[in-house]
C-alpha cells in the first residue's frame, strides 16, 4: 500500500504516469465518472483549509465516490485528546482512502504508519504540501508541454514559503531548469536550498526587483509577501511594490510566460492581470482537481 507524504515519494517516471492519467481525466471526464463508485474518501482536516479540502472532495465526487470527514480539530475526537494513531485506525474502518491536514509536522506520516488505507498528506504545518506541488507540476506540464528546459522565477516570500521549497525540490530532478529567486533580503531563499543547488550544479541567481528579471522568465511563480515578516514598517512600504505583479510588469515579460500562484492571492497580483492569457493561477486550481483525481485512482490501484 502506498501513501503520499512528500512530492519526492514518487519517481519522475511515476509522476509522468500520474500526469498522463490526470491529462486523460481532463480530456475524458465521463470515462472516470464511476471509477470510484462505492468508495469513500475521508478528509481529516485538523485545521481549516477550504480550498484544499474542497479540491479533494470534488476530486472524489467527480470519480463517483463519496466523502466523509471533519474540517477542524474542534469537531473531531482530537478535541477529546485522541491521538492521530488512534484516529486513523478508526477512520480506516470507515473509508477507503484518507486525505489529512494537520498543524503538526509529520502527523500524516504517523497516520500512514498505523493506517490500513492509503493516506495523503494534505498539508502538515510548514513542512510539506505535496498535492500543491503535484498541482504546480501538472499545470506546468499541461500548459508548457514539458517539465524541463525552462527558467523559472520564484517571487515573494521565499524564506517561509513551503510551496516554493517543495516545488524547487521537485523541479531539480528535471533537466536544464534555471532558477531565479526574487525576494527582499529579509525573505531570501534559505541557504540549505542554495547549497543543494550548488552541489548539483544547478544554475540560479538571486535578485531584489521583479522588473529586473521578468523578461528572462518562462514561468513566474508568485507568492505573498506578508507585512508581518518584515522587521519594520518602513522596509515593508519601500519593498512591497517590487513584488506586486501588474500590467506594466507583465508588458516586460515574454509572450508565452506563465504566471502561477498557489492562492489565496491577497494583493501581490493585480486584478488587471487576471485577464492576461498568461495568467494561469485559476487554471492551476482546476489542474489541482485533476491531479488529485489521478492520485486517488493511483493510490487505490484503480485502473479505468
Amino acid at each position: 500500500m502506498r501513501h503520499l507524504m512528500s512530492p519526492l515519494d514518487f519517481s519522475i517516471e511515476e509522476l509522468s504516469d500520474l500526469f498522463d492519467l490526470a491529462e486523460d481525466i481532463e480530456k475524458n471526464p465521463a470515462k472516470y465518472a464511476h471509477a470510484c463508485d462505492g468508495k469513500k474518501l475521508a478528509t481529516c482536516f485538523y485545521e481549516p483549509s477550504t480550498r484544499t479540502r474542497l479540491s479533494f472532495e470534488t476530486a472524489m465526487i467527480n470519480l463517483g465516490g463519496s466523502v466523509i470527514g471533519f474540517s477542524d480539530a474542534g469537531s473531531s475526537s482530537a478535541a477529546k485528546g485522541e491521538s492521530v494513531s488512534d484516529t486513523i485506525r478508526v477512520i480506516s474502518c470507515f473509508a477507503d482512502i484518507c486525505a489529512m491536514r494537520h498543524p503538526k509536522e509529520g502527523a500524516p506520516m504517523v497516520a500512514a504508519e498505523k493506517s490500513s488505507i492509503p493516506v495523503i498528506n494534505a498539508g502538515d504545518g510548514g513542512h510539506q504540501h505535496p498535492t500543491q506541488t503535484l498541482t504546480d507540476l501538472l499545470t506546468i506540464r499541461a500548459l508548457k508541454g514539458r517539465l524541463n528546459h525552462f527558467t523559472i522565477g520564484l517571487c515573494g516570500d521565499l524564506k517561509f514559503g513551503r510551496t516554493v521549497h517543495s516545488l524547487i525540490n521537485a523541479l531539480v530532478r528535471y533537466d536544464n531548469i534555471k532558477f531565479i529567486f526574487i525576494s527582499p533580503e529579509e525573505l531570501r531563499i534559505p541557504d540549505y536550498i542554495t547549497d543543494m543547488l550548488k552541489q548539483n550544479s544547478i544554475p540560479y541567481k538571486e535578485v531584489i526587483r521583479l522588473e529586473d528579471t521578468i523578461a528572462d522568465l518562462d514561468l513566474l511563480y508568485m507568492t505573498r509577501v506578508q507585512k508581518e515578516r518584515f522587521f519594520n514598517e518602513e522596509d515593508y512600504v519601500r519593498l512591497k511594490d517590487f513584488y506586486i505583479l501588474d500590467r506594466a510588469k507583465m508588458s516586460l515579460a515574454k509572450e508565452d510566460m506563465l504566471v502561477l500562484h498557489p492562492l489565496p492571492r491577497v494583493n501581490e497580483i493585480s486584478v488587471e492581470v487576471d485577464e492576461d492569457k498568461r495568467a494561469a493561477y485559476f487554471k492551476q486550481v482546476q489542474y489541482g482537481v485533476y491531479v488529485r483525481m489521478a492520485l486517488i485512482l493511483t493510490l487505490l490501484g484503480i485502473r479505468v
Binding site: K104, G106, M109, V110, G125
Partner: protein, 147 residues
C-alpha cells in the same frame, strides 16, 4: 599516573573524545548494568593528546553499537576475552536512530503524539546530519553532549 587494571572479560571503548565519556555512559545506559564499569577521563594519548576510556566487564551484546556509532564512529571498540583483545568492532553511522535523541521542533507531531518514538534518519553521511523522520528537523549534535 593513575593506573586502572585490565579487565578479563568485557569491552573497552577507547579513543573517546576527552570529556564525552559521561555522556556516552548515560546514553549507552551503562548505569543500568550490574557490572564493573571504569571511566577514565583525560588519559594521555599520542594520537589525540587527551582522550577518555570506558572499560566494562560484561558481554559485548549488552552494548548498542548503533548508539555508539551515532555518538562518534571514531571510537575504538575492543572486545576482551581472557584479558586479551580478541576483536575490534568497526563503528558506522547508523541509518536510523530510534528513541535516543529527541526532536526539538515544537511544531513536530512527536511533541504531542502519545508514546511516539523519536526517530532520526541519516540525511547526509558526509556531514553526519540526522533529520527527524517526521518533520525533517535537523539534529544539532552539539546539544547531545550537554548531558
Amino acid at each position: 599516573m593513575l593506573n586502572v587494571g585490565k579487565i578479563e572479560e568485557g569491552f573497552v571503548l577507547d579513543h573517546i573524545k576527552a570529556g564525552q565519556s559521561l555522556s556516552i555512559y548515560h546514553h549507552l545506559k551503562l548505569d543500568k548494568l550490574d557490572c564493573t564499569v571504569a571511566i577514565i577521563k583525560n588519559a594521555r594519548s599520542g594520537k589525540m593528546d587527551k582522550k577518555d576510556i570506558i572499560k566494562v566487564e560484561c558481554d559485548i551484546d549488552m552494548l548498542n553499537l548503533d548508539i555508539l556509532g551515532f555518538i562518534d564512529h571514531n571510537i575504538t571498540v575492543n572486545v576482551i576475552k581472557d584479558g586479551i583483545i580478541v576483536e575490534k568492532k568497526d563503528l558506522v553511522l547508523p541509518k536510523e536512530i530510534r528513541g535516543v535523541i529527541k526532536c526539538k521542533n515544537p511544531r513536530c507531531i512527536t511533541s504531542i503524539e502519545q508514546e511516539l518514538p523519536h526517530v532520526f534518519l541519516l540525511a547526509d553521511e558526509k556531514k553526519e546530519i540526522y533529520r527527524c523522520k517526521y518533520c525533517d528537523e535537523k539534529f544539532d549534535k552539539i546539544s547531545f553532549y550537554k548531558y
